[in-house]
Symmetry: C2
Subunit: 994 residues, 2 copies
């Protein structure tokens, strides 16, 4: 009964914010202190409807991109209105004013990144006013994450984080009434099943969006299936991942002729008969016609209209004044038998009416990718757009998780310690901003992309201080720590210059990893010792020619020192490196292509004539496949085309021809053999090269590609892919992950829920790859693990292609108004991008056992920090925050400080049902026995987004057309400390610690 003692039962009747404050000793947030009344927010605050009429729910809303054409702060302030007129500070000012003028009015707000900025600038009286509006349901938060995340290019871990950040702010600020009931992704360009699953687990009662394939939309209109039940997980027991999903009638825009924002030109309602142009009758007639027409494609006598759009309501009076009149004049017709009832509403009020209708709903189990809004307009380019930003975002997540963990493990000294004040909040916010659907998606303007990157860099600067403080606390050494963020291009001034230094490798995974440390050096021979002082194998090798080129020969090191480090779970180990005076010079690369390279696990064969890969064998499982890999580019459409004038751009992928151009049919190669690694270095052209790496102790093959500057001297936009052609019999199927978690089966020229008329044979077969994709047949599964989000497809039998880089010369007319043509100060002639692909060959039943942990290793990479010279002998060289590694099926997703004396912990079962013979089983973890240094005083389980106690999470129940209403299963656990995880389950705990 520890839990009872931890959570006082009376206190639990309060809302979560109060409880959390109770933890930290602060006063509970007072409920409705101004009115003295209980709040009537949420479903209770909805306006009454007319059962025998068509009820039109008008939803005033603004869609505020957390950066797109302007940076998030430019949008907030209304700066750079020459680019786009938009100022969120004024939107919120104005909406609050207008809500106060008429208690019937409603508004929803979505993006907490903006609301938070606004809130902290308000006076306390304004804050009280807004609280009252929220408590009366007049201002309602929907979605409520820090941003409205992209669904194709985001990793689930960062999506959960950004939702948690936003919802926590709402919870702590507004309590119960601040909890959104509805998820609202009106703008993202396609919809991921994993997002739906997460939203379900976050407690949302329903989900609304605006964009889906135009063919899908047509069919759903005809069958009245624009409202449906999405079963978003194959592993989680229904209704855990069931999410009612509504497709909005007009994107997220108002019906034609009824946009009354300052940005619109539709005629206002002119109801003064003494002035010219009286138009009330015309407006009423047009509106009723639209409402009746809309009601024909939805099931119930309730329809929704989104009265707003991008950055609208900066002058909310224009909207509300005319909406007030619209409601008055349309409803006045009821006296003469009119059958339309218009009301101010919110998505949750609309959802409540759908729920009350007690109908059955079509069941959907696949996803909404790819998105096309016209036959030649597939939004599959952004899966890859801005590959450098996509990678930086992914690394930043790794750094943030490390920062979060070390803030917990290092204690309060982490935030204020020998290296000054650090924090994780800055990077948390930067990462949350970067999840926006015009951020990591790559669909923002260049200066905004730069801003996202700068924010991540600033966040990481703040984290570095925290990490240094924490490592100082944990190691007992306050020696200065240096971080080398450019190791990917072998740049690190300390290791290049130093004769003796130590390397601290922090591993944020809950299991030990063997990590190849690769450092730029100038010496020819080094001695490396592990934390126990034991020498370890190391290898010095020349940097590759492409690395030299990328660094622009600025006097950086010409060699790399390579050694493996065994890092403990949630902990670090420290190696020392000393330059040997008389060491042997490193071996020169061999100029010829080896027929094969191999280690204990893998054999990789090459075609000596072409220098290309030719085969892959798993020596443990004794399986082999033919495998050719090469690089190609699609010629991007410039829009001058008989079928359509759609060019390729930041959003759209539209190759001019379905046949890509080969970059070179052969590669110039050289190879290096060593104790740690074997490398075959391939040069395909001055702007495409690759290093094929086989580490001595790894079961996967690493392909480090370098692409760029993509030449455009021929005035042709290029979309660069790498393609794996194998002997695997794929039968038109391949598999991609959804936001880095569950896998979805894809089939060429096919959609599960409608008969596809394929009009773009390449772009229409591209899908987002967040962390991995695979192709398989009965015997062989080749899994490709990526280091960032990319687009890819399987166009030919046995083939898998991944788009790596895009350089385009035309804007694709979706608003960004810039061609995706990345250059920078360092790369004025075009961005060079480097990345890694890991190949794993396994029999299908064992593939997940390999790719699940492998992908997590790519997501959560070790953090290296360096100390010059000899460490103080008292320095603790090794540390683990765990008592033991977690079981193979369990991933530690989140460990972060919550309040002064509480932590947030998320544990995840990282296997799908049936995916692994070994690991797809429930597994139980004892929380109390988990951490090595933390004393846990209490635990309480929360919903996925940590804004509700798990056992208070009550969601609307919905009945699928195909079956019974599923009942939520309650699992009894033996102890509050024992957490059993079922396949794909994530459990979120608030831990009280001393």
């Amino acid at each position: 009964m520890i839990r009872a003692s931890f959570l006082d039962m009376a206190a639990r009747c309060l809302h979560l914010a109060a409880l959390l404050s109770f933890f930290s000793g602060a006063l509970p947030f007072p409920l409705g202190p101004e009115t003295g009344k209980s709040p009537t927010c949420g479903y209770e605050s909805c306006h009454a409807t007319q059962p025998d009429m068509l009820n039109v729910h008008l939803v005033p809303h603004t869609h505020d991109d957390v950066g797109w054409l302007k940076t998030v702060d430019q949008y907030f302030y209304g700066d750079r209105n020459d680019i786009q007129h938009a100022g969120v500070q004024y939107i919120l000012d104005s909406v609050v004013d207008q809500l106060l003028k008429n208690p019937d009015r409603r508004f929803i707000y979505v993006e907490t990144a903006f609301f938070y900025r606004w809130w902290r600038q308000q006076s306390s009286s304004m804050k009280q006013t807004v609280k009252q509006l929220v408590e009366e349901g007049r201002l309602e938060f929907v979605n409520g994450g820090w941003c409205m995340s992209d669904e194709a290019t985001t990793h689930y871990s960062s999506v959960i984080d950004q939702m948690t950040l936003g919802l926590r702010f709402l919870n702590e600020t507004f309590g119960l009434c601040g909890r959104p009931r509805v998820a609202w992704h009106i703008d993202p360009f396609g919809h991921a099943r994993e997002h739906a699953s997460m939203f379900a687990q976050m407690g949302y009662d329903g989900f609304f969006f605006g964009r889906l394939d135009y063919q899908d939309r047509s069919l759903r209109m005809a069958t009245k299936e624009q409202e449906l039940l999405w079963r978003a997980s194959e592993s989680l027991t229904p209704p855990m991942a069931d999410l009612f999903t509504g497709i909005l009638p007009n994107g997220y825009n108002p019906p034609t002729g009824f946009c009354w924002d300052q940005s619109c030109d539709d005629p206002p309602i002119r109801d003064d008969p003494e002035l010219e142009d009286y138009n009330v009758d015309d407006v009423v007639n047009r509106f009723v016609a639209i409402a009746n027409s809309q009601s024909m494609v939805y099931k119930t006598n309730h329809i929704i209209m989104t009265m707003g759009s991008d950055f609208q309501y900066e002058n909310a009076n224009l909207w509300y004044k005319n909406l007030d009149k619209l409601i008055r004049y349309v409803n006045a017709e009821q006296a003469d038998g009119g059958k339309v009832n218009v009301l101010y509403s919110t998505p949750s009020c609309y959802l409540q009416e759908l729920h009350r209708a007690n109908r059955t709903w079509a069941l959907k189990t696949d996803d909404f990718f790819p998105y096309a809004d016209a036959p030649h307009d597939f939004w599959t380019g952004y899966f890859t757009s801005r590959p450098a930003l996509k990678r930086y975002e992914r690394i930043s997540n790794s750094n943030l998780q490390t920062c979060n963990q070390l803030e917990v493990l290092g204690g309060p000294d982490s935030r204020k310690g020998p290296f000054g004040e650090g924090d994780s909040q800055t990077l948390k916010e930067a990462m949350a901003v970067a999840q926006h659907h015009d951020a990591v998606s790559g669909t923002e303007k260049q200066h905004v992309a730069n801003d996202y990157a700068r924010r991540l860099a600033n966040g990481w600067q703040r984290c570095q201080v925290l990490v240094s403080n924490s490592l100082a606390a944990l190691s007992g050494s306050t020696a200065e720590r240096i971080y080398c963020d450019n190791l990917n291009i072998s740049v690190c001034p300390l290791t290049e210059a130093s004769k003796k230094f130590s390397v601290n490798v922090y591993n944020p995974l809950a299991r030990p990893v063997s990590y190849p440390v690769r450092l730029p050096v100038n010496g020819s021979s080094y001695e490396v010792k592990d934390a126990n002082g034991k020498p370890v194998d190391c290898q010095v090798l020349p940097v590759s020619s492409s690395t030299k080129e990328v660094r622009r020969s600025r006097g950086y090191a010409l060699r790399e020192l390579l050694f493996q480090v065994e890092a403990p779970p949630l902990g670090f180990t420290t190696s020392s490196v000393s330059l040997l005076k008389d060491g042997p010079p490193p071996a020169s690369p061999s100029p010829r292509t080896p027929t094969s390279i191999q280690n204990k696990f893998l054999r990789v064969t090459f075609d000596p004539d072409t220098g290309l890969l030719s085969g892959l064998s798993n020596l443990e499982t004794k399986q082999s496949i033919k495998l050719t890999q090469n690089f190609y580019w699609y010629n991007a459409s410039d829009g001058n085309n008989t079928h359509s004038n759609q060019p390729s751009g930041a959003y759209i992928f539209r190759p001019n021809s379905s046949t890509p151009f080969i970059i070179s049919s052969s590669a110039k190669t050289e190879s290096i053999q060593g104790v740690v690694v074997q490398e075959v270095r391939q040069v395909f052209s001055p702007w495409v090269s690759q290093v094929v790496r086989l580490y001595s102790d790894r079961r996967e093959l690493e392909l480090e590609w370098t692409v760029g500057p993509v030449p455009i001297g021929d005035d042709l936009g290029k979309e660069v892919i790498t393609r794996f052609d194998t002997s695997i019999k794929t039968s038109e199927y391949f598999y991609t992950d959804s936001n880095g978690r569950e896998m979805l089966r894809r089939r060429k020229d096919f959609r599960p829920s409608w008969t596809l008329r394929q009009s773009e044979p390449i772009a229409g077969n591209y899908y987002p790859i967040n962390s991995r994709a695979f192709i398989k047949d009965e015997e062989d599964q080749l899994t490709v693990v990526t280091d960032r989000s990319q687009g890819g497809g399987s166009i030919h039998n046995g083939s898998l292609e991944i788009m790596l880089h895009r350089r385009l010369l035309y804007d694709d007319v979706r608003g960004v108004a810039e061609p995706l043509n990345e250059t920078s100060d360092i790369f004025p002639e075009g961005l060079v991008v480097r990345g890694g692909i890991l190949l794993s060959l396994q029999p299908p039943p064992r593939a997940a056992d390999a790719h699940r942990p492998l992908a997590q290793q790519v997501v959560l990479q070790p953090l290296l920090s360096f100390t010059e010279g000899e460490l103080h002998p008292d320095t603790r060289l090794e540390f683990s925050g765990l008592q033991a590694a977690l079981p193979p099926a369990v991933h530690l997703l989140t460990l972060t400080q919550w309040d002064e004396d509480s932590l947030l912990l998320r544990l995840e079962h990282q296997f799908q049902t049936g995916e692994s013979k070994v690991n797809s089983e429930p597994v139980t973890v004892n929380l109390q026995k988990m951490f090595s240094t933390l004393k846990l005083l209490g635990v309480s389980e929360m919903n996925l987004s940590a804004n509700q106690w798990k056992d208070e999470m009550k969601r609307f129940d919905w009945t699928p057309q195909t079956g019974e209403k599923p009942l939520l299963k309650e699992f009894q656990e033996r102890s509050v400390w024992e957490a059993t995880l079922r396949p794909m389950e994530i459990r979120t705990f608030l831990l009280r610690v001393r």
Copy 2:
């Protein structure tokens, strides 16, 4: 002591609105009932300033055109935002909201046409809120007329009316606090001295404007004479027409970089240090630099900045939020020695500080025409632009004055009588709207010009009912009355078809007029009898060929019946017309040019070779001049020019060459001789013709010109003039009227207050002609009286030219965004315009005796109404509202119903000091003996705009640089009923009647 009994002395302490209501029996408007405090509006409500600092008066304002690119109602509602984003309803909504948020904030509002529309839609609680804002001086009205009138093309009579209309609304709505202290003409394109004179007489303490000649501006900046004392009348005793005048620093816009309206893109103040782009220091530095720079060109330690522009403040929050911050951060510098003090202010608060400065000010006695904003950009085209609209506006004024008079004379039955309900208010408002500086000026878009005309037509429709009711009451006949509005092109279905009808001629002048009635007929011979049944001379003549063409031969009459009618003052006479069965056919015109035509007063000679005028003689004064007249066109610049790319357009006149093209060196002529008129009809081309008319009993020569459709098949824009070349030795001088009143001397290539660098030899010598212009030497004065506002100049010795019509192919880049290329349904190939010019030849000392009454006859034309058949014998055929004609020097300017039992009367001395030997003397009128039917119970004198008792009018006193502060002279009158008028004086009386 009748006055004392009429106006209770206690009541006089109340403000005017209360008094007026007291007249009509309504309750006085309560002062500040919400606050229980006395109002602190006006100068008392100004913020404190810093005597030892530079005080920057920020004046938040919006400039709301009463029609321009959109109609007045489109602007009010915010309709047609595709043309221009502007919605005045929202501006007022927003400003009131924002004023309530911070009591320091200030706003001024200007155009009552808009405010009135808004006010009547407000709830009573909103009205109370606004009243309180007004009473606290937070919302202040400036100018306050119905519109901001044009100064070049408006007639003083209509300007006074529109100011009266607007100010009366403010007075009745807000009382004392609603009375503007400052005149505010920030946008009109040049400034008329008569406007300044009127503003002075309306009680304004000062006047601000934004536009003046760029050379004038430069000199005034150098000499710090952008603030000055304008002595606006040569006749009125100073300081009666003295007006302090301030020229605003930046037109009416904010300084560069400080526009925070939604329509601007300047950076907002970003003062949150936790967000990106903090810019407070930058903003403060830029602002202080601008303020210091501005203070260098003004005299005192106070400067004004207009923080607003066209239709700004629709979302006032943007402005005020940033202005609040600007004030806070700039003034915060004072703690560190900053010497700039910024404050919210109004023009009157700024004016008060200038007055307190107790300085002397440069004296100006000329005007601010023409206006050029660059060397080749003279805004002298709009003096003539849209000549048809200009004429329609002028006729509408005549109709309105008749309507007003008949509303008084006919009593309450006028408004509701046998012909239904009529009113003068609709036409009053339409006329007031038409005074706007983009209305009668001709600088609006075509659809807006159409709207102005439609409003005038609607107003006249309402007046026709009133006039019919009134004439029925006065005549005793309820027979239907027909109005023929197209007599100028000889269209009147009744007279064309009827064999017997009567003509009622109402004369709105206070003296009898002899008026030539010209009616389209189809018979060949008629008998006309006057009101006494006495036959009068009449003449039937064929309509001119140009009239036939203009009417497009739609079966209209081919003849005109002409006879003179003697109409009594402020009254009517009725003639009867009968078709004679056996009358002689009218004489055919003679095809040859007569050498001369003459009557008792004038001889007009022609050159028989060319058909042109060749001379004019006054037979009474025995003076003769050589006089040639012809028609020409300037080729409008298309903007492709080495000196400048400025084209001619609605605003700008810019001929391509200083030599106009002659239309024809000779005219095809025919002549008609008759008992009533002699006509020489000249045809110059298919699109230019003229009728030279000499009536048997008239001292002036009439020239009826018809111009159009101006051909543009040659792709050349044309600006058509008529030019009079005479033997008068003008020595580069000529004279034009100011708004139809006082005359100003003009000199070629010269400005009285600076050394002109002339850069446009034609356009830079054009001036507005409202009602007349003249040229003279010692012996001869040739006065040209026009029937509408036109532009004109005297480019050559003895020459006077008047621009009649303009047809242009390019927009002149001043915002209207349309070429001035008028067509219509009736004239798809281009507008045809017809007009009249009257020529009067007199010795200079006697010229005014002729042109003063002549011009008034053109302004206030008789109104003709027709009754079919025989009138009932009891019908009263003749009526005069006056006991006797007023003295020749006195013009009855206004007679209109004010309240149920009160009238507004304006009497005017229509001569300037020294202008006439006979008439330029004070003259006394006894009001009680004036009217024939009205019983006057009381009289009280008011200021010119009738919003203040005359004896309560206290204005700021100002000292000119050149002399003593003038003291206001008080004239004692023998009786309240006796009104002495001095030259150019207008006196305004409120009469209580039974």
